[in-house]
Symmetry: C2
Subunit: 183 residues, 2 copies
């Protein structure tokens, strides 16, 4: 109890980390599962009468092989091609984060957002180890094979390996889009 009380005194905000992903269609559209996860935080977890007591830490992990170089011939790409592509990717990642930051601003809940790169499940756990949130929230699309490579598929890994409690916001089956690319 002693340690927790000290932490509460020096840092009274509940730190809620949220991993977000883009839709299968691609940037900058956020995935339904990530939107649901933020919606759960803002409507269920955050208490309106003390919304100043929360901080949402929004992380988007970019997967280089999958997101970064899909339009490029990697054999012939020059160093400058790669850099241009990286800047483009970063810009798209920031545009995705902007959606979530805007939602938090509208709800008047404090947040910070950042991009990282690598295998989402590993990076989410690593960042959680650094940030030490009180709770990690992840959306989940379900059990589709394609989706597993995104954050949705990382959720079960993270719930086992993250250093903090994890809550997975599963999608209602009737929210599954007709066209999976809209996901």
């Amino acid at each position: 109890m002693g340690e927790q009380e000290t932490a509460a005194a020096t840092n009274p905000k509940m730190q809620v980390m949220l991993g977000v992903s883009h839709s299968i269609q691609g940037y900058p559209k956020p995935s339904i599962s990530s939107r649901n996860a933020l919606n759960w935080i803002l409507t269920k977890l955050v208490r309106q009468s003390c919304k100043k007591e929360y901080k949402i830490l929004i992380l988007h992990v970019q997967v280089p092989d999958q997101d970064g170089f899909e339009d490029m011939d990697s054999v012939y790409a020059t160093g400058s091609d790669v850099k241009t592509q990286q800047r483009k990717e970063e810009k798209q990642g920031l545009a995705l984060l902007e959606y979530f930051v805007k939602q938090c601003n509208e709800a008047e809940v404090d947040c910070e957002a950042w991009l990282s790169e690598g295998d989402p499940k590993l990076v989410i756990c690593k960042e959680a180890k650094e940030k030490r949130p009180d709770l990690l929230v992840l959306g989940s699309r379900g059990l589709g094979t394609v989706q597993r490579i995104f954050v949705g598929g990382s959720s079960s890994y993270c719930s086992k390996h993250a250093p903090c409690p994890v809550v997975i916001i599963r999608r209602d089956p009737n929210e599954t889009p007709y066209d999976p690319m809209d996901d």
Copy 2:
């Protein structure tokens, strides 16, 4: 959003369901994992400045074969033996719940507590379907075989099958008691 807003207006409290278990030693000692789970709710989830906005729904599921009749020869037990045993079990279950209710009272957080009977994982999901909490919280002891038959082992099932988001409070490895019976 419409439905959620209506729900918030008619029922502004965050309903947090908590499944609790006794220690392996038996009643009325609560398991470390259940105590941890309540501790997380009271120190991390519940915001002190708006603690009136939470209600904790505390459920303990009794397993008849395992808890109820272990000292009895079931072949020769009369109907009255069974009833006496059931009353004894119920009393012990209530004594366990009392520990958790007392913690909530001391923290001045609203709660209700009840006993149920059956396979914990199935009953927890069934009760969650009825109560529709905003969050289900379960403690987890780890991966021990013996422990799996208690609530700790139910947590991964519930996180897949409960109709609401689930958060599992895992125990720090250094909290594992020297004597597993103290668990």
